[in-house]
């Protein structure tokens, strides 16, 4: 397993491309995204599987 991360060669760690929560503080919170229970769940709360409207 060899990958480049931040200019460094990583042999033991592979990091997936994820949205950095901290960076999302700057542009987040527009509220245009779907409400959790309006999708296919009516008895639990699922947020992580939704998409950001700004990222579409």
């Amino acid at each position: 397993m060899i990958m480049i991360y931040g200019g460094s060669i990583m042999k033991h760690v592979k990091t997936l491309n994820t949205r950095d929560f901290k960076k999302s503080m700057k542009k987040g919170g527009c509220g245009e995204c779907q409400t959790s229970c309006q999708s296919a769940c009516k008895t639990s709360c699922t947020v992580g599987n939704q998409s950001c409207e700004q990222a579409k």
Binding site: T35, A40, C45, G48, N49
Partner: protein, 461 residues
């Protein structure tokens, strides 16, 4: 805070506060466990290298350097810095952006687990009039501030018992959205028994999402979802209708949605059955029921249910490789473009962004509170008048819940379901333990599937 786990043959490390997902080799996986406490507590790189580096092989030292590099970049052992941010975020003006319209408090089925009784929500049977629905949509438009996308779910009972009003309300919504600079996203949730070709054509034109209730295998479905009177199941009636509906929507923008109970703790077979029927968008949720009900899930069921999620995830991987993949709602996760942290931490929005409206125009925080008078928020004529109650829901977020503090999944469930918390603990800021355990398992599986997808791409490249 990190969460380490092994799944699908991968060693996975989730950096909870950044959302970073790392796949590591076995040696590094063990190493992370060894340094975790010191690394979390802020021990310097030099001190960690000095404490753990002595006696290490060159490979181990190399791995340790990689972990420390990730920490310097806030991608591993990162801190939770969001609590003050969420406090400020929650001070914003409350707007309503989603409504669950209870078009019909009546149903032609008698599903045994229905939280609406048999459709009437522990009250009178009734149908929403166009006038009440129109006032609800007007309220939504007027109280949605600058939000452009407004979501309206036609719900029941069975909403197709009152389809004419559904049509009228959609037409009304469409007639005002341009002038009001809004975009209605309609959803229809139905048991399918009354879904004719004419209604399907309408739904395909107007409904952004179609939720079709089915529990899986015929015996499982018919046991829990019979017609009223309980003698005949609804499976044979709905399956061909749903297959036609799914194809007519090009296998997108719909869900076949089921509920599993203590009677089918082998629910992976039900999900796979639906996939075998040709459905590509599948959601099956755990029942939420009073503990005295025989179909209620128990704490003892949890290991079996978690194993079922593993079985399902592995089978989904296999089918995906064979070109027969399908989506399972609770395993879907958007790692690269998912919600912002404000969304992830500020709760589901019930009672604030989201309200349920009864056929008589009463407002409740969500569909699961309908009929419980202490949760009456207001109505379509007077608006939200119980502002004290609204404030309690507004203040509900991940940091208001003690149980969420040390949970790795808090950024994926947003603190869980307020209704479940209340119904099990009389407190909307509590946690419903069975729901939490299953959510954690689903998040693990969802991330593992993404990791596997990434590994497949690496192999192809």
């Amino acid at each position: 805070m990190i969460h380490r786990y092994q799944s699908g043959g991968f060693n996975i490390v989730l950096d909870v506060n950044s959302g970073g997902v790392h796949v590591v080799d076995e040696m590094t996986y063990d190493l992370i466990g060894r340094i975790e406490v010191d690394a979390e507590n802020g021990m310097s790189d030099e001190d960690i290298l000095s404490k753990y580096g002595a006696g290490m092989s060159d490979e181990e030292k190399e791995a340790l350097e990689e972990l420390l590099a990730l920490r310097r970049d806030d991608m591993l052992f990162s801190k939770d810095i969001y609590e003050p941010y969420i406090d400020a975020f929650l001070q914003r003006e409350t707007v309503v952006k989603a409504m669950c319209l209870h078009i019909a408090h009546d149903c032609n089925l008698g599903c045994k687990y229905c939280f609406a009784g048999e459709g009437e929500y522990h009250g009178d049977r009734g149908m929403m009039s166009f006038e009440v629905g129109k006032k609800a949509l007007d309220y939504l438009v007027e109280h949605s501030g600058s939000r452009k996308n407004l979501e309206v779910d036609f719900f029941g009972g069975e909403p197709l018992l009152n389809f004419e009003v559904v049509k009228q309300l959609v037409a009304y919504g469409r007639s005002i959205e341009k002038e009001k600079n809004k975009n209605f996203r309609f959803t229809l949730t139905t048991n399918g028994t009354l879904l004719t070709d004419e209604i399907l054509e309408f739904a395909n034109k107007e409904m952004g999402n179609l939720v079709l209730s089915i529990d899986g295998r015929k015996a499982v479905h018919d046991n829990m979802r019979p017609y009223r009177g309980g003698k005949t199941g609804s499976y044979d009636k709905i399956v061909p209708i749903y297959q036609k509906a799914a194809e007519s929507r090009n296998q997108m923008n719909y869900y076949v949605r089921g509920t599993y109970t203590h009677y089918n703790t082998d629910f992976a077979a039900d999900v796979l059955h639906m996939a075998d029927l040709g459905f590509k968008q599948i959601s099956v949720e755990p029942v939420v029921a009073p503990t005295e009900e025989p179909y209620a899930l128990t704490l003892e069921d949890i290991p079996t249910l978690c194993k079922q999620y593993d079985i399902l995830a592995e089978e989904m991987l296999r089918r995906r490789k064979e070109g027969k993949g399908f989506n399972f709602f609770h395993f879907m996760i958007d790692l690269a473009g998912g919600p912002c942290v404000a969304k992830r931490l500020s709760g589901c929005g019930s009672g604030c962004e989201y309200v349920a409206v009864t056929p008589w125009g009463d407002f409740y925080p969500c569909h699961q509170f309908v009929g419980e008078e202490e949760f009456l928020l207001g109505n379509v004529d007077d608006g939200i008048v119980n502002t004290d109650l609204q404030k309690k829901f507004h203040a509900c977020n991940v940091y208001s819940k003690e149980a969420c503090k040390n949970c790795f999944a808090k950024f994926y469930c947003s603190g869980g379901c307020a209704a479940n918390a209340y119904h099990f603990h009389n407190n909307i800021n509590a946690a419903y333990e069975i729901g939490c355990e299953l959510e954690r398992k689903r998040v693990e599986c969802a991330i593992m599937l993404k990791v596997a997808e990434s590994a497949e791409e690496d192999t192809e490249n």
